[in-house]
């Protein structure tokens, strides 16, 4: 009897330790200090009521200038395991001042996916960006919504409304669910809410911030809906000559459904773009899946794959540090806004306070994350 009690107590202790760890990861609070341009914080539920109060009722930071102009939507966290997208959006929400037009920023487009990591992938549960005030910790997240929030997956996922057959698991992939379905799954309803936001706020340009593995051909590029092809091409040229890095342009394929760059452009008046930065952490040939790899982008196995010509982006021993990836996103967004504003003065968006590529690399991403303890009253929200 004593032996059974000891074994049960051991099991209970293990279950409690594991349970507390999972609970802590899922409920880690990520503070956001509203920047000088933020005039209010809405949520996706304001645009689609059934989403109100759910795990995916994500915050929408509204930055508004005194002069009228265009409206830009920045989507971070469509795929939370691509942190440079979230961090770049974070920098905009915490630092941007808007003189003209409006900027709408979402940091956790699929918040459910920020609360889980890749099943069986041995991902770290979180990562910390060093700052002068000690560092800010973020949930690691995954590509798909948490199965605790949306389950079961179907045998076959038919995208709505095209009825194109996609991988079954992608019914929990926000970037395969656009333009969304009001009576669909949590992920489909989230996509619908974002599409409704784009319609109601008359968004001019929707920019979805991502990262990609180096073995994936769509990398270091702007994926552009045909409405945004000229803008993306011009941005690519300016960036390559002025910003210190190269970025390509890809046309959004018409035959692949559910992606933001295709569906938002088709379903709304907005032009839709998607940015990809290189993230070695996602490559299948990586070594240990650690926080260090996530932030440094250094991995000997991926470097070796590159030497064998198996990658679509170069990689050296210096890897792809997070500051480079974040800086690519901030500079690309700024170039897109500047070129658009020069060509469309009546729809201009004038944003200041955002570091470009070189400055992010020089000072580090953490230099642009704000200390919530030093923030004024009512300026801190949580993701």
């Amino acid at each position: 009897m004593t032996r059974k009690i000891v074994a049960a107590a051991l099991g209970a202790a293990l279950a409690a330790a594991a349970g507390l760890s999972f609970y802590g990861s899922r409920h880690l609070r990520e503070p956001v200090v509203a920047g000088p341009g933020v005039v209010r914080v809405a949520t996706l539920g304001d645009y689609f009521a059934p989403l109100k109060g759910t795990v995916n009722d994500a915050n929408v930071y509204v930055l508004e200038g005194k002069e009228a102009g265009g409206t830009v939507l920045l989507l971070g966290g469509t795929h939370p395991e691509e942190p440079a997208g979230r961090l770049a959006a974070w920098i905009f929400a915490e630092n941007a001042a808007v003189a003209r037009g409006r900027l709408l920023v979402i940091l956790s487009a699929n918040r459910s996916a920020t609360t889980v990591t890749r099943l069986g992938g041995a991902y770290p549960p979180d990562f910390t960006i060093p700052t002068s005030w000690g560092g800010q910790t973020f949930r690691m997240g995954d590509r798909w919504s948490n199965p605790l929030d949306q389950w079961p997956d179907p045998e076959v996922y038919l995208h709505y409304p095209s009825r194109q057959q996609l991988a079954y698991v992608d019914i929990r992939n926000l970037n395969r669910c656009f333009p969304g379905r009001p009576n669909g799954t949590l992920t489909e309803r989230t996509a619908f809410a974002i599409t409704e936001l784009v319609r109601r706020e008359k968004v001019t340009i929707a920019i979805d911030l991502h990262e990609a593995e180096l073995q994936y051909p769509v990398i270091s590029t702007i994926v552009a809906h045909e409405k945004g092809a000229d803008l993306a091409a011009a941005a690519s040229m300016f960036i390559s000559s002025l910003e210190g890095f190269a970025i390509g342009v890809e046309n959004s394929p018409k035959a692949l459904r559910g992606l933001s760059h295709r569906e938002i452009g088709d379903a709304t008046e907005a032009m839709s773009l998607l940015l990809e930065a290189p993230e070695p952490f996602l490559d299948a040939t990586r070594g240990r899946t650690t926080r260090e790899l996530l932030l440094s982008g250094r991995d000997e196995f991926i470097v070796r794959a590159g030497r064998h010509g198996l990658l679509f982006e170069k990689i050296g021993d210096e890897g792809w540090p997070i500051d480079i990836r974040v800086g690519r996103h901030t500079s690309t967004v700024l170039q897109l806004l500047e070129i658009w504003s020069a060509d469309h003065p009546d729809q201009a968006i004038a944003v200041s306070g955002i570091p470009r590529y070189g400055e992010v690399i020089e000072k580090g991403t953490g230099a642009f994350l704000k200390d919530p303890k030093a923030a004024g009253p009512g300026r801190v929200t949580y993701e």
Binding site: K4, A7, L14, A15, A18, G19, F22, L148, P152
Partner: protein, 51 residues
């Protein structure tokens, strides 16, 4: 429909968890007892919606 499937899934999970506890109680060998305890943990975490 998905709600029904989800409820059935949790009922099955609870059933398996109860069976594991039952087998744990009936075992006489300590190695088998430890084995049942370890196998039980993921079922408990799922029932409690922790993982």
């Amino acid at each position: 429909m998905t709600t029904i499937v989800t409820v059935l899934y949790y009922v099955l999970t609870a059933y398996v968890a109860v069976m594991l506890v039952w087998n744990f109680v009936k075992r006489k060998n300590w190695q088998e007892e430890v084995l049942y305890v370890i196998v039980l943990i993921p079922f408990l975490l799922r029932l409690l919606r922790l993982k």
